[in-house]
């Protein structure tokens, strides 16, 4: 997939992928002219079905950006309206359009309200920010969360157009109950991302390559600033990604950097690169860092979330990794393909045995409570308070995973 020219050529801008293998996307060229209004040259595989709609979508965006006269060439392979709007916006802005209107497509999905601080975060599916085709049906695969990624999966030349795609996706794509996360770029570019993304009310922002608590605090502050002008008052959660030796050393401070931090996670590609060692199948080289992260997260009352498993074809390897990960204290991990979601949910689910044991402990606790006893007993064993707490958590999680009746 070739990418559109990003070189600023005043009066002319292009955006969107080109080539025979492009699907559900489009390439747009906007060239300003002196007169004659907006002239379209539209080549679309759905011209007969949606030709008028494509022109209408493009016109609305151009109008908002103050483009009155232009030649607009659209080579469309079936892009959905939110994609058309994003590509046209990127092309027009690259041409130098600076209108102050609102080019955003009409909102089609509403945010229900903030997600729970400690909601299930077993799986989070990575969706490259410049590949809208993958976003549309992502929710059908029932991940706990989706990550619209503006960082590593987006070519440096495409940061702007990915930003409009992700912003529009947050307005128009129904992720079917998945927590809507956005991974911004490394700071300071990430601050630009926040301006576009935060008004759309994502549930959570992932901050990459965090090494100091101040970085997190600043992101939190910026978000508050934007939300106070343009938002519904809901908080947006933060998940810092530790990807260096220094970041891991500072894990506990980072975990406490802001009230809105709900989880810590780790990026193993960069971390192993920082150590100067290869990343291996069983991950011995990152064992300490991952344990450190779990401990820091739990110390701050946060969830610890593991990295991704890179071999999509190897389900057995994924299951092994995920089981080990749960045993270490992680509560979830990333997915790079929808088929990884189900195995991960399986691996992070408590076993039937664990659930039954926990239920018995909870029942014993409730019985002790009702009898006004301070000591909880199960058979001949005395149950310590932390064991009761863990049993409560396990039963609650099992219920949220649908492993128990309500």
């Amino acid at each position: 997939m070739a990418s559109g020219a990003s070189s600023a050529n005043m009066g002319r801008g292009a955006a969107g992928p080109q080539g025979d293998d492009v699907r559900s996307d489009l390439h747009v060229v906007v060239e300003f002219s002196d007169a004659g209004g907006v002239q379209f040259e539209l080549d679309s595989r759905v011209a007969g079905l949606y030709g008028d709609s494509i022109r209408e979508t493009a016109e609305q965006v151009l109008n908002a950006l103050g483009v009155a006269n232009a030649r607009v060439t659209i080579d469309d392979m079936g892009g959905l309206p939110f994609v058309i709007a994003a590509r046209v916006e990127a092309a027009a802005r690259r041409a130098g359009a600076e209108g102050k209107g609102d080019p955003r497509p009409q909102r089609m999905v509403t945010r229900d309200g903030p997600t729970a601080r400690d909601r299930l975060r077993r799986s989070r599916l990575y969706l490259p920010g410049n590949q809208p085709k993958l976003m549309v049906n992502a929710g059908l695969h029932r991940p706990d969360g989706v990550i619209l990624d503006l960082e590593d999966s987006v070519h440096p030349d495409e940061k702007d157009t990915a930003r409009w795609v992700v912003r529009n996706a947050l307005r128009c794509v129904d992720f079917m109950g998945a927590e809507r996360m956005v991974r911004i770029n490394q700071l300071p570019l990430g601050f630009e991302d926040l301006k576009a993304i935060v008004p759309e009310g994502p549930d959570l922002i992932l901050i990459p390559k965090v090494e100091h608590a101040e970085q997190v605090a600043e992101v939190d502050e910026r978000i508050r600033g934007i939300r106070s002008q343009d938002g519904d008052g809901h908080s947006i959660w933060l998940m810092p990604i530790l990807e260096s030796a220094l970041g891991v050393e500072n894990a506990f401070e980072i975990a406490q950097a802001a009230e809105t931090v709900v989880a810590l996670t780790i990026g193993l590609e960069d971390y192993t690169a920082d150590l100067g060692v290869p990343k291996t199948q069983d991950g011995e080289e990152s064992a300490w860092a991952r344990r450190r992260l779990v401990n820091a997260a739990r110390a701050a009352g946060l969830q610890a979330i593991d990295s991704v498993y890179g071999d999509v074809g190897n389900v057995t390897g994924l299951l092994e990794w995920a089981h080990r990960s749960r045993a270490l204290g992680f509560e979830g991990m990333g997915c790079i393909h929808p088929r990884q979601i189900e195995p991960i949910h399986q691996a992070f689910a408590p076993t039937q045995d664990e659930i039954e044991k926990a239920q018995k402990i909870v029942a014993a606790f409730e019985e002790a409570q009702s009898k006004g006893l301070g000591v909880v007993r199960l058979g001949t064993k005395m149950i310590d308070p932390p064991v009761v707490l863990r049993a409560h958590r396990l039963v609650q999680n099992a219920r949220r995973m649908g492993l128990l009746g309500e």
């Binding site: 007969g48 079905l49 949606y50 892009g79 089609m108």
Partner: protein, 521 residues
């Protein structure tokens, strides 16, 4: 077309021509309603004294063969598609006819492929008048644009047999490409460098055509075993260098889909088999070689192992996946209509449990029953499905004819017909208010499975009852259609079609189900 074409509305509310290529037509009356009487067509009487006593029917080349068959203008010449996109025989034969100066031929293929696009030139030159058979890709577009002189007639594999048997189509010369043949005309598709598996599509032609020519690139001394085509029906044998490109005849391997959405569809279908009680010991099913169908077989296989059940028979479109199923003891037989990959070709040649079938055994309306209705469930695709469960496999939403029917219509008679498809492709909705062309009436289509859920035809209260309590996403079809429409940014515009019919879609009984209209350029 000079004289105006009279149109009549049929039982599914579609306007269809009353006369097609000079022949009176019966409009579709509803599934199972039409029962013609009388006698089947018979080929002309021939006697063994007219053929060489030593059994050697060889002639030097195609032209000589055509001349010996009395090639004349306006004749009907048939070919078959078991060599798929690798076939070189159909074009060679039509070109030979052109060199002999023949014009106005009717080409009657069991299906055409993109490799047959040069037939467009022969139509432009007047050699071929029109095509009755599937028209894929460029040929379909040619027909859609109203450039063919006659009207296209699309039939299912079973419908082709029906039309031959009840005399609707008289084949003057049948040309059978044979991967292996002997000088007597015995032929098979299971052996030889161009092996393709079964020759079932050519069987009717070998029995009913006035003349039968077998063309082979692998001549063996009598007897060619097995004789899928019997030499006793064959007039002439021609040996040529190559009947086709083996790499396009069968793919080396068939590929599972990698698309997560399609895998989800396949998984839903497999789970539906289980939850609806279709998957039980001794059951049967049919699945083709499409990406979703292959993935479905893979999911079903795991479920069958887990449940400890096995199938009595599986109908193919056979592939490595079905062969594995049989070799792992999960089905007793493969009843094979078409062989798609090398593993399946090898299996059909060497394993007696892997049985070649024909449209006669499987699909023919004029048979005393057929296998299609004995299969417990089939998984099929479609280009469009509407809220009344009508489905289209022939045209795209822009009205252009791009695909044949194949065995698709015939398979609708199974115990449970499942269409497995994406709810949209890019920005083309697959679930719509009304299909562009009806290839299959909704009353025969039981279940639609897409990535957004599973819709069961309200007529199938038994299936609705069977899946009560299942955690599958069972949803009304209109609800999914609405959801897709919102995603697409509204309902699609209707294609601009003229009032000029360019092809008809036949139902399995020979009646006219729908019309393909010329597209506006």
């Amino acid at each position: 077309m000079n004289r105006p074409i009279e149109l009549i509305e049929n039982a599914v509310g579609r306007r269809v021509p009353t006369v097609v290529n000079g022949k009176e037509q019966t409009p579709f009356q509803g599934p199972g309603s039409y029962g013609p009487r009388g006698f089947k067509r018979a080929p002309p009487i021939r006697s063994c004294r007219d053929y060489p006593a030593n059994g050697d029917k060889r002639v030097p080349d195609l032209k000589t063969a055509l001349q010996m068959c009395g090639l004349k203008d306006g004749m009907t010449i048939s070919t078959h598609h078991h060599l798929r996109n690798g076939d070189e025989v159909a074009l060679a034969m039509l070109n030979a006819a052109a060199e002999l100066g023949a014009t106005d031929l009717m080409w009657f293929p069991s299906a055409s492929f993109p490799c047959h696009a040069p037939v467009i030139d022969l139509m432009d030159q007047g050699v071929v008048h029109h095509i009755e058979g599937s028209m894929n890709g460029p040929l379909g577009r040619y027909c859609s644009e109203g450039k063919m002189r006659g009207m296209g007639v699309l039939r299912s594999h079973g419908g082709r047999w029906q039309a031959i048997q009840d005399g609707e189509v008289n084949i003057d010369i049948a040309v059978i490409a044979a991967p292996t043949a002997d000088p007597f005309g015995n032929a098979n598709g299971s052996h030889g460098p161009s092996a393709c598996g079964s020759l079932g599509f050519a069987l009717a032609d070998s029995v009913y055509a006035d003349y039968v020519i077998v063309v082979t690139d692998n001549l063996v001394p009598f007897p060619a075993i097995p004789w899928q085509i019997q030499g006793n029906n064959v007039d002439i044998v021609v040996e040529i260098d190559s009947i086709g490109d083996p790499s396009k005849i069968v793919s080396g391997t068939t590929q599972l889909t990698k698309s997560p959405d399609r895998l989800l569809v396949a998984e839903y279908v497999a789970r539906f088999y289980k939850d609806a009680g279709i998957m039980r010991d001794g059951f049967s099913f049919q699945a083709g070689a499409g990406g979703i169908a292959l993935a479905f077989v893979d999911f079903l296989k795991e479920q069958m192992k887990e449940a400890g059940v096995k199938a009595r028979f599986v109908r193919g479109g056979s592939t490595q996946y079905l062969v594995d199923l049989m070799n792992e003891g999960l089905t007793d037989y493969i009843l094979d209509g078409q062989t798609f990959d090398l593993a399946a070709v090898e299996s059909i040649a060497s394993d007696a449990r892997h049985v070649p079938t024909s449209p006669f055994t499987s699909y023919n309306y004029h048979g005393k029953g057929n296998f299609a209705s004995m299969v417990d469930a089939v998984v099929l695709g479609a280009t469009e499905v509407d809220v009344n469960f009508n489905a289209n496999v022939n045209t795209h939403s822009d009205g252009v004819l791009l695909h044949g029917i194949g065995g698709w219509q015939n398979c609708l008679f199974s115990g449970c017909t499942i269409l497995a498809l994406p709810s949209f492709r890019d920005r083309i909705p697959v679930l719509v208010d009304e299909v562009t062309t009806i290839t299959g009436p909704g009353e025969l289509i039981d279940v639609i499975v897409c990535e957004r859920g599973i819709s069961i035809n309200p007529l199938r209260t038994d299936l609705l009852d069977a899946v009560k309590g299942s955690d599958l996403p069972i949803r009304p079809i209109a609800e999914i259609k609405d959801e897709v429409e919102v995603l697409m940014g509204g309902p699609p515009a209707k294609p601009a079609l003229s009032d000029n019919p360019v092809a008809v879609i036949k139902w399995v009984d020979g009646t006219v189900l729908d019309t393909v209209w010329q597209v506006e350029e």
